[in-house]
């Protein structure tokens, strides 16, 4: 299964298509003697992982691309066994600790301790440290983050941490101050088009400019999505035309349709229907903040500014409350119910005002 996304992913810092100055700085970093802990952050599809792998390659050479997948077992104090999947090479190990749920703290402590204590076997390596790559650090519980901070300090001699997160707001300041932050913003419209053109050229698929433009608009500055969209277009219709339809992810369509149901009718009966659809989205693993965002976007399209502000306030309030509770559906439903009431009032007022 070789997707264009993986096939044409740059493996060298010098081969990156955008944020080139940053790439140069990272190269400098590698050439200096002491390497700090790093925190890569940026939106989804911006290229964080790509850059991290390129950086590792710069550090250790191509040996770092020989990956193997392992299951690691940890045991909690309450004697529960957790199994976590890790991807590693001779020089680094990559783990997503939030897979372990509430036991992420154990995973971090044991993993880093274990990795730090095993001595580097590679004799030819110029580096005297291993790299531990932790992804989705902003999903870690605060306990785990504090444990991470302590472990970072303890084992800094033998291993360096590279952390990857979508945003730094959920990362505790203690960790942020111990890492060098590398901000990876989303590529610009023009940069995305350039990459798409590049990929299509290598694939021997001529890409009309208008189509490239349309894809770049639709992908939300998410390069991964843009390339996938392009590949899907090619499978759908070859040769590519500028007018052709660009497929949207199914969940996005479903979300939009749900919003239109809400706009159609504002009754408890409709809400019941909406509830079923919300459950569908939840079951498919769509994150709740995406659901809120998607619904909000559609719902405020036909509202005047006054109503828009009110609805946004509702969305922000209920989305926040969700983080303090545990049954996600309650908050989504409450938001929709309140919107319905507000919208109904708005319609009645406008219609009433017409007479």
């Amino acid at each position: 299964m070789s997707l264009w996304v993986d096939k044409y992913r740059p493996t060298n810092l010098s081969k990156l298509d955008y944020h080139k100055t940053q790439a140069a700085y990272l190269k400098n970093l590698v050439q200096q003697g002491d390497f700090p802990h790093l925190l890569f952050y940026g939106p989804s599809g911006a290229g964080k992982k790509t850059r991290i792998m390129a950086l590792l390659r710069e550090l250790y050479g191509s040996g770092v691309e020989r990956l193997r997948m392992e299951h690691m077992n940890f045991q909690t104090p309450s004697n529960k066994k957790i199994e976590i999947m890790t991807v590693s090479s001779n020089y680094h190990i990559e783990v997503n600790p939030s897979d372990a749920g509430i036991y992420d703290r154990i995973v971090i402590m044991d993993l880093i301790k274990g990795a730090a204590q095993t001595h580097q076997l590679d004799a030819s390596g110029q580096r005297d440290f291993k790299v531990i790559l932790l992804t989705e650090v902003d999903r870690l519980t605060k306990d785990a983050q504090h444990a991470l901070r302590r472990t970072m300090e303890k084992y800094v001699q033998t291993c360096r941490l590279i952390l990857c997160a979508n945003s730094t707001s959920q990362v505790i300041p203690a960790i942020r101050s111990r890492c060098l932050g590398v901000r990876v913003p989303a590529p610009t419209h023009a940069e995305i088009i350039a990459v798409l053109q590049n990929v299509c050229k290598k694939e021997g698929v001529p890409l009309p400019d208008e189509l490239a433009d349309r894809i770049a608009v639709k992908c939300n500055r998410n390069l991964r999505r843009a390339i996938l969209m392009c590949e899907a277009c090619k499978v759908q219709q070859f040769p590519l035309t500028k007018e052709q339809e660009i497929a949207e992810p199914d969940w996005q369509v479903y979300l939009r349709d749900t919003a239109s149901l809400v706009l159609q009718e504002q009754t408890p009966k409709k809400l019941l229907e909406v509830r079923t659809r919300l459950y569908e989205l939840i079951v498919h693993g769509i994150p709740t903040d995406i659901i809120f965002k998607g619904l909000l976007k559609e719902l405020i399209k036909n509202c005047d500014l006054q109503l828009k502000t009110a609805v946004i306030e509702l969305a922000a309030t209920h989305e926040h409350r969700l983080h303090r509770g545990s049954k996600v559906i309650f908050y989504l439903e409450s938001f929709i119910a309140k919107f319905m009431a507000l919208y109904l009032q708005f319609m009645e007022d406008t219609i009433g005002g017409m007479f």
Binding site: Y25, P36, L180, G181, L296, H323
Partner: protein
């Protein structure tokens, strides 16, 4: 931290009960007591501090304690009354500046004055933070000089034009533009809490906004900031704040 009280009971107590000789290994006289240094003492639980108090009293002949903390209010009164306090004030800007310059000279690093100034400002009196930032910038830039922009990147400060631009858009009444702007800001990966902090600074000092206006905006900033702490969606909170600013603008 959980086992801290155990550490106090075992290690510290045992250590402090040992007697100390009055003569150094090299034969010169030295004070006949040992020193126990407790760093980050304000994160000790009250129970641990209480356990420490007894040890301090009992072993004061042979052991002296040195507690280091950020906030003296986190140390219980019985402990503070047994200690003589030394308060360290935050470092002055001038002093920090000259120290950083010294380091630049020693390490052969070229640094713009604007960058140094920025370093000093963003560190908030924390010299360690300033020096670490300086070092990070130096590593990244290699032989090139450090500019103000580099310091911004490393410290996570959001370039001013983004914040000013945000306020400007809120003064207008085009919601679509606002939405697009917030999306763009989110794509830049800046921390929303940072946006709120910097926005707050600008709003307070602004001369364009009336006091009433400022109070409405600041209240909303406080609310959004609190919600962000709980882990709320950054996009929604920013959008909520901006639409409130826009609405309050239009009312006036």
């Amino acid at each position: 931290m959980e086992k801290f009280i155990q550490v106090i009971r075992d290690k510290v107590k045992v250590f402090s009960q040992l007697t100390a000789s009055a003569v150094r290994p090299d034969g010169r006289p030295c004070p006949p007591y040992k020193i126990v240094i407790l760093d980050e003492a304000d994160s000790m639980t009250h129970a641990a501090q209480a356990a420490l108090r007894r040890t301090m009293e009992k072993e004061s002949r042979s052991t002296r304690f040195c507690l280091i903390c950020n906030y003296v209010s986190c140390i219980i009164d019985p402990l503070t009354s047994r200690c003589s306090k030394f308060r360290f004030k935050p470092l002055g800007e001038g002093m920090m500046h000259s120290r950083l310059e010294l380091i630049c000279r020693e390490e052969n690093v070229k640094c713009e004055q604007a960058a140094l100034k920025c370093l000093v400002e963003t560190s908030g009196g924390d010299l360690r933070r300033a020096i670490t930032c300086l070092q990070s910038c130096a590593r990244l830039k290699g032989s090139e000089g450090i500019t103000e922009q580099d310091v911004f990147e490393v410290t996570g400060v959001i370039p001013n034009h983004w914040i000013v631009g945000l306020l400007k858009i809120c003064q207008q009444s085009d919601f679509q533009k606002l939405e697009a702007y917030v999306e763009e800001l989110m794509c830049e990966a800046y921390s929303a809490s940072r946006v709120l902090e910097q926005l707050h600074e600008i709003v307070i000092k602004s001369t364009d906004l009336s006091d009433h206006h400022k109070s409405v905006i600041c209240e909303k900033i406080a609310l959004c900031s609190y919600r962000l702490q709980d882990g709320a969606s950054e996009f929604l909170e920013l959008l909520d704040l901006c639409s409130t600013i826009m609405k309050s603008n239009l009312k006036i």
